[in-house]
């Protein structure tokens, strides 16, 4: 789960980088970059952090 989260976080970055070649307009690039940003945030909050919350110190 943590590794998947790291991969998704990097994927979001790669998608935003790909906007440079996927679209020539500022609006198109803006949309792709925002999508990449959302994916990266999901990787951190939804996957990596969640994996660490499965067995937290306060439940031990």
């Amino acid at each position: 789960m943590v590794i998947a989260g790291l991969a998704v976080t990097v994927l979001g970055f790669i998608i935003s980088l790909a906007s440079l070649t996927l679209s020539a307009s500022a609006g198109g690039r803006l949309g792709i970059v925002l999508a990449g940003l959302a994916i990266s945030l999901f990787g951190i909050i939804g996957l990596i952090n969640k994996a660490y919350l499965k067995n937290p110190i306060w439940k031990k």
Partner: protein, 559 residues
């Protein structure tokens, strides 16, 4: 009271947004009448020769012997260095002196600002120590003290060449061309600078050079600021050995690589030149490069190291763990405001020429954003919890300063006030989110102050830059002034957002992997026994307050 505060804030915010976007008044259609005929003609240039300079004499010895109480005699023609004593003073000597005076002013400005930034370490140290419990005071202060030495050493032997080794000549500092090695790869058919290669030990390839030394000092204190952010999040449970290794790795690799992309001639700075996105990724003084890098590394550390014992009850409900000295916290905030005048205005790297007098505007923007940040946090806490919380007001001030750090050189005062106000509220919301939703324990709020607001500052630049700044006519190699989306350039906002995804996608993941490896091989966390006892004795061998009797339990539910 809550309704009154809410309505005042709303009206103020709306008025501010309108003012910030108000276009300048139209130019007068009729030219102002010339005052006399002479004003309409340009005087013919007068050639000055070496012979003319012979008639300029220093004050007579008998006059000089009487002293100079009004300061009109000290500093004159005799102070200009003469290159050939037989020929005497020449025009070339005068011009060289003028050039050196300009660079001398810039050197002095940048060095003094660098010293101010260095002093910020003291501010961070006492803010963090004040927000931690007394039983960890020695450990927290020692981390903040030694991070300066560890970071500087790592930066000297590895980090500086990676960051600035390919930056090229910096005009404000004399344009020395020796830092000219950037490792470049081709992506999408364009050159992407990844890291620099010159400047190893400040000795090789001609980098034993006065302007390189200045660049090193200034960049080193920025780097150390980023490193010290992490100590706040991991405080009260970070094993000292792991702290040393982690700080070294961050100062040597993580920070310098991103800083190269933004400031060292790397690919982010060239998004404008290569892909037509505004002036490329812009970050005047480091909301992204310094604060987001520190804040996102702190987030990675906070997740890996886990919360302090007693921070969350078994149901996952967060408990309040009070710091031990609010006086230290707010005094530290004052020191940090003072240091920030080195951080932001100093980032012009000069005070003379190339639009550098805008340092006054940068300084005012910095003050305003800090002020409105403190207001935003204070009013938010007052409305939500009924009291104007002192530590969160301090964090609001820091959040405003963090957020204005990237845009301070490109925005107007009203925009600065709005950016700071948003930052002050954002830091409160982010602290609640990090603690209640993510359940990451951050004793000082560093993730929210530096991480969240660093990212907000980077985005704010892409929105509010008003196109009025002019630092020599171009920025990142693109002609014109930096202009945000609210003033017509959406491309600039896209460049900023790509910077944000690079921070999250590269800096966070790299920091996470490196700190996870340190956790595996060294262990990031102190033992539970040491944590409960307080880290001062188990980790440092001495108490911060040896003459005080410390209570064993300080959390809201008695652990």
């Amino acid at each position: 009271m809550k309704k009154l505060l809410l309505s005042i804030s709303t009206v103020w915010l709306l008025a501010g947004i309108t003012l910030a976007q108000t276009p300048p008044p139209p130019a007068l259609t009729t030219a102002a009448p010339a005052i006399g005929a002479a004003a309409a003609t340009t005087p013919a240039p007068i050639a000055i020769t070496d012979q003319d300079l012979k008639s300029v004499e220093p004050p007579k010895a008998d006059v000089r012997a009487k002293g100079d109480p009004d300061g009109n005699l000290t500093g004159n023609v005799s102070d200009i260095a003469v290159s050939d004593s037989k020929k005497g003073l020449s025009v070339a000597d005068v011009l060289n002196q003028i050039g050196q005076n300009k660079i001398g002013i810039n050197f002095t400005w940048a060095l003094i600002c660098g010293f101010l930034i260095m002093f910020m370490q003291a501010g961070f140290a006492i803010v963090e120590a004040g927000l931690c419990r007394a039983k960890n005071a020695n450990h927290t202060m020692m981390m903040n003290f030694m991070v300066y030495a560890i970071g500087m050493f790592a930066f000297w032997i590895i980090g500086f060449p990676l960051q600035m080794g390919g930056v090229g000549g910096i005009g404000n500092l004399g344009g020395s061309p020796v830092l000219n090695g950037e490792h470049v790869v081709q992506i999408f058919g364009k050159p992407f600078g990844i890291f620099g290669t010159k400047g190893l030990f400040l000795m090789k390839d001609g980098t034993y050079d006065v302007s390189v030394m200045l660049v090193f000092l200034f960049q080193m204190v920025f780097m150390d600021t980023a490193l010290t952010i992490v100590t706040g999040t991991a405080a009260e449970r970070w094993k000292y050995t792991a702290f040393c290794v982690s700080s070294f790795v961050m100062g040597a690799f993580t920070y310098p690589i991103f800083a190269n992309w933004a400031w060292g001639g790397g690919w982010l700075a060239n998004l404008g030149a290569n892909f037509g996105l505004g002036k490329g990724y812009c970050d005047f003084a480091g909301s992204g490069v310094v604060h987001s890098v520190g804040g996102l590394t702190a987030l990675a550390m906070g997740i890996i190291i886990g919360p302090r014992i007693g921070k969350f009850s078994r149901s996952g409900k967060p408990n309040v763990i009070q710091g031990h000295d609010i006086t230290m916290v707010l005094t530290g905030c004052f020191i940090l405001i003072f240091g920030w005048f080195g951080f932001n205005p100093g980032s012009t790297l000069g005070a003379s020429g190339s639009g550098n007098l805008r340092i006054a505007s940068v300084a005012v923007n910095t003050m305003l954003a800090g002020t409105t940040g403190a207001f935003g946090a204070m009013f938010y806490m007052w409305m939500r919890y009924g009291k104007p919380d002192a530590s969160m007001s301090g964090n609001g001030l820091l959040a405003g300063l963090v957020a204005i750090t990237a845009p301070c050189g490109f925005v107007n005062p009203v925009a600065s006030a709005i950016i700071g106000l948003v930052a002050g509220v954002l830091v409160c919301l982010s602290v609640e989110f990090v603690e209640r939703v993510m359940r990451v324990d951050d004793p000082v709020g560093a993730i929210s102050v530096h991480g969240a607001n660093g990212l907000w500052g980077v985005i704010a630049l892409g929105l509010f830059a008003d196109g009025k700044s002019n630092y020599g006519g171009s920025w990142n190699g693109v002609n014109g002034s930096v202009t945000g989306a609210f003033y017509g350039d959406t491309g600039q906002l896209v460049a900023q957002l790509i910077g944000v995804t690079a921070l999250i996608g590269f800096v966070f993941t790299t920091s996470f992997i490196l700190n996870w490896l340190i956790d595996v091989f060294v262990g990031q966390r102190s033992s539970a026994k040491a944590e409960l006892e307080g880290l001062d004795l188990p980790e440092m061998g001495a108490l911060g307050y040896p003459e005080f009797e410390l209570k064993p339990s300080t959390t809201s539910h008695g652990i």
